[in-house]
Symmetry: C2
Subunit: 304 residues, 2 copies
């Protein structure tokens, strides 16, 4: 039984796929307007009803009964967090994780903020977070398979929307401001576009990658420069030197042959270890991609 915290695009797609592809049920859904719960879990019909409900209005949907978060936690085994990131305090998600984990629930999340601000505290085997980096590409699972192979360096294009913008500018000749507008219209820009354009989103991903590899790195420790066009093959480059450690997100010109040179919303990561160099490319954005990876983590959480 799953408590879904957040009911926007990814949350709705997750709910649909959960009922379509698994035998699992939601027992509670929370959005910005409050939450509803049902001990036996919502039926498919009730979820269809919820999917027709406008944003922020699940309590008015007529499905289930209005519930407090603490009561809902007692009905569920897994909390799935798809609420928007809050890079100031990580709230309300951070408090929710603390309560859920202390009650013995598992937490599955696509929300980077709590991990970016409090990874060490949350580092816990019942926290599943591969949806926070590279959407449908399970990079985090691959990273966890590396130690004690020693990772020296990670370089990557970790933000799909800014990579889309730079590809439109230099590959397709679209002016920068217009490309930003396009990204907004496509729904691939964060509601607060500074998270993308000033690099907070890829910086949070570097923090998650570093800590996953056992290297302590704080969000304020990542050097960030805002996105700006510099000329052909400008990309918003995220770099992590794990030996210093030093982390940065900045616009940079790549060569055409650079293995991490990818176009549009694709992401690419190059991992250099003491014995290997690994390259991974895959989609870095998308509701369905993110929802699938959340589902994989949900199934893992329930199997352990």
């Amino acid at each position: 039984m799953i408590l879904l915290f957040g009911f926007g695009g990814v949350g709705r797609t997750y709910a649909e796929l959960l009922y379509e592809r698994t035998g699992l049920r939601l027992c509670a859904v929370f959005d910005s307007g409050g939450g509803i719960a049902k001990k036996e879990g919502f039926t498919s019909d009730e979820v269809r009803q919820l999917l027709k409900t406008p944003r922020g209005a699940v309590v008015k949907s007529g499905v289930g009964r209005a519930a407090a978060l603490d009561d809902a936690l007692d009905m569920c085994q897994v909390v799935v967090d798809v609420s928007p990131p809050n890079y100031e305090t990580a709230e309300p998600a951070l408090s929710l994780y603390r309560r859920a984990l202390s009650k013995g629930l598992a937490v599955v999340t696509a929300n980077k903020a709590p991990l970016a601000l409090a990874f060490r505290e949350l580092a816990h085997r019942r926290l599943y977070y591969k949806a926070t980096v590279m959407a449908g590409t399970p990079l985090v699972d691959l990273l966890m398979g590396l130690p004690p192979q020693k990772v020296l360096r990670v370089r990557g294009i970790l933000n799909g929307s800014t990579n889309y913008i730079m590809t439109r500018v230099y590959k397709d000749g679209v002016p920068f401001e217009k490309a930003v507008e396009e990204a907004r219209e496509l729904g691939i820009l964060e509601p607060d576009p500074r998270l993308d354009l000033e690099g907070l989103d890829p910086a949070a991903k570097l923090v998650i990658i570093a800590n996953t590899l056992g290297v302590s790195l704080a969000l304020r420790g990542v050097i960030r420069r805002p996105l700006a066009p510099l000329g052909p093959v400008t990309r918003y480059l995220a770099t992590l030197d794990l030996e210093t450690p030093r982390a940065s997100v900045e616009p940079a010109r790549l060569t055409e042959e650079d293995p991490i040179h990818v176009d549009y919303t694709m992401n690419a990561v190059e991992i250099t270890t003491d014995v290997n160099t690994i390259l991974i490319k895959g989609k870095g954005a998308g509701r369905k991609e993110t929802a699938y990876v959340l589902l994989n983590d949900t199934l893992k959480a329930l199997a352990h």
Copy 2:
């Protein structure tokens, strides 16, 4: 406490790294000549002594006492199999796994044969096998992070030694027979070179990939054509269509731009799902790379 089954190149490197990088100990080592065991685990000095012992002679090393496999199993928590693959019967590894798993031990393996011949029987949460595919690149962990994302197709260069041979032939102008000889001298060819040159090794990897993704595929179900030079960018291409399912290993000409076109001992895999296309490149061979991934699986096995 670990039982090491096989004490050739990878086994010895594993033993060294185990003592160097973790606090764990070997309690038993078996090679083709028999096995030795010690309840408290071997000391670093004893392992150094073992590393000086010729192949097949651990029982004559003067370390520990000669032991039967069943007695050794009772002293250990994890079996690590680095014995050579036997694609006829998968023995003696297959019987060892059955005994170890039934006694509640975990099995960590780099040996493809038992999985290629009996995946369904062995599919068990206490069997860890990411060292069987792509050496130091944890592809298997990434694959396990995909479902219920639906994988439609996998294409790849999964055999480092034949890719080395074909790169030498067409990139460096070396005659085919000489390139084969070089691969043998470098120690990257299997002791029975037909496993590489007739595609049994990449076919076994396809079987492991398919079954990891929940699709039943048997080794005899993989179409295999022997390696042969066809002209520039000839690669030994492994293809898996998961919908039919159909699997093949055959020489094929790739375009220069093909994302899975890699040189020398590199491996590359392209995974097409219903919502994503993922490309992974990394080393596909190497003692140290394989030993590291075995160590990661050992640590995982002991944590669960």
